[in-house]
Amino acid sequence: MNSPIMTKITRVFIYMLLGAAAIISLLPLYWVFSTSLQLDAYQDEDLDAPISYVEANPPKFVPAGIEEYFKHWRKARAAEKSGDQELANYHRKMMTEVVHNSFAMYMYLFNRTNIWRWFINSAYIAFVVTLGILLIDTMSGYVLAKKQFPGRNLIFWVIVSTMMIPGQVTLVPMFIMIQKLGLFDTHWALILPDLSMVFGVFLMRQFLLSIPSELLEAAKIDGAGEWKTFWTIVIPLAKPALATLGIFTFMSVWNSFLWPIIVLNNADLYTLPVGLKTLQDANLASFKLLMSGASLAAIPMIIIFLAFQRYFIKGLTLGGVKE
């Protein structure tokens, strides 16, 4: 059973299984990028009529542009060698045509839709909410963890018990509230409710329970006020939890969808997910166009994830994060 050959075979088998699962996991994301770059309505001297590699059967797994680009590059080189400048020029022109065609829908999105605006809206709302949450959740988590005052436990339990309530329950009253406050169709309608998310208070309190009280006492003896103690002692000690909370807040705001489609009407105010939905609802959009928009929305989160992977993992294990 434990012979070296057997363990080797099991190991190969495990890698094959995991590899297959990883392909299934990543294929849809790959397909977003691949479709967005696929040649569409493309024609050159080898083709009688324009063809679409997006709608190819069997599907084209690698963007056809890569192959086409090198084909024309080779032909241009050959034509230059044989002195046929006109043919060489044609192939040089086709090379730029291939590039243009591949990125056509990205250019379309930038030139003809508000996507740039949506991108900036998503980014700045996510930043504002993240900074706000980090500040106010650490402030409240800190006093709930380290200070004694009347009503402390009551406040904590009220906050934590609302974590159990699904967001859909408050959808309608929140909508009426936002309208009464005159915030409908403004970015405040997204920012303020997002700032009320309670998970961070819970996380920061749990984390700050473990910081030594002696440090806080020492600061007090040195004559530091509460605010100064908070900034010079608590915040630096809270850094690991702050990183985790910041990343999860950013991700959930960047990806949030249900609430934004309810309170945003003006296309200039859309966030990326809302914009993508309207693109898809417009029906005339091709899959190449939709996938180009989708990839623009996906790239920032993928980069953030790859850069801060360990904080994501820490965050999930630090008391369990809502998906």
Binding site: I14, L17, L18, A21, I24, S25, L26, P28, L29, V32, E55, A56, N57, P58, P59, I136, S140, Y142, V143, L144, F149, P150, I155, V158, T162, M164, I165, P166, G167, Q168, V169, T170, L171, V172, P173, M174, F175, I176, M177, L192, P193, S196, E226, F257, L258, I262, P273, L276, Q280, L290, A294, A298, I302, F305, Q309, F312, I313, L316, G320, E323
Partner: protein
């Protein structure tokens, strides 16, 4: 004895003094409490009230249980409930089992391989569901979709997955199953690395094989994680929405109508705020009910 118990007015005086002494801490809490009160506390109470009212901008009227009666008398509600239930039953257990299997396979690997697979399985989780749903709508495309292409390898003729009542909900379930449970895998991996090695060594000395060790040690030690995962996945899957609105809008007919999509439609297409609140209350009660049951069932044998 008597003198030690202060009078009520005195108690209040002490309390107020205590509050005044600690006023700076209330200031620390204040910003969060303001947004919390406005956008969580008041809406939660209000939602409960709205469920018994007919909402009108110029003044709502009490209608007793009418909203609930309306909900329970509408056929669509039961269709949505059934679809949501079916979606949950077919995705949650499968996801938990997949997470367990993948974590078991990843755990013994070297550091580099481990972090590669962890990233590969977690990446879809950080990607917006809007994007995942958009690409799956493309993958399920009748004529040019990848899904039908792969099925054609096995001689299966093309199917209009999202366009027919018979297959639409299944298509959404399959899509969910094929999107790996990133959170579950990472939580299981973390829990596995917390199991002390001495347990395995002792079992090895007693002659337990690798499978027996997994079944007798790993599995029981992972129970709290399993419980947590089943609960959060169930809660999440009862709230399935984005896939529905992006891929089928509840159709064809009501084939993929789910509870949250129905609440959304009732509130923001029909503007029946009272009825939508009643639906949301029922969703809340269902989620609470399942959470309690699962907690009871899965946490019985150990303390």
């Amino acid at each position: 004895m008597k003198t030690l118990v202060p009078y009520k007015s005195e108690k209040i005086k002490y309390l107020l003094k205590d509050i005044w002494k600690n006023r700076v801490y209330y200031l620390f809490l204040a910003p969060k409490m303001v947004v919390f009160t406005l956008f969580i506390a008041i809406p939660v109470i209000w939602a409960f009230i709205l469920a018994f009212q007919e909402y009108n901008v110029f003044g709502s009227t009490w209608v007793g249980l009418n909203n609930f009666i309306k909900v329970l008398n509408s056929e669509v509600f039961y269709v949505a409930l059934w679809n949501t239930f079916k979606y949950t039953v077919f995705t949650v257990p499968v996801h938990v089992v997949i997470a367990l299997i993948l974590a078991t396979l990843i755990h013994p690997l070297g550091k580099i391989a481990q972090s590669f697979f962890r990233a590969a399985f977690y990446l879809p989780t950080v990607t917006s569901m809007v994007i995942i749903a958009m690409v799956w709508r493309w993958i399920y495309n009748f004529r040019f979709g990848l899904f039908n292409y792969f099925l054609s390898w096995f001689g299966i003729p093309p199917v209009d997955w999202l366009g027919q009542s018979a297959t639409a909900l299944w298509a959404i379930i399959i899509m969910s199953i094929l999107t790996p449970p990133g959170v579950g895998i990472i939580l299981y991996l973390a829990a596995m690395s917390n199991i002390p090695d001495t347990l395995y060594e002792a079992a090895k000395i007693d002659g337990a094989g690798p499978f027996q060790r997994w079944y007798r040690i790993t599995l029981p030690m992972l129970k709290p994680t399993t419980l947590y995962l089943v609960m959060i996945s169930t809660i999440g899957s009862f709230q399935v929405f984005t896939q529905i609105i992006m891929m089928t809008k509840g159709g064809p007919g009501y084939a993929t109508e789910t509870l949250v999509h129905l609440i959304y439609k009732t509130a923001f297409r029909d503007y029946e705020f009272g009825v939508a609140s009643a639906q949301a209350m029922i969703l809340f009660i269902i989620i609470l009910f399942f959470s309690v049951i699962q907690y009871r069932l899965l946490s019985t044998d150990h303390d």
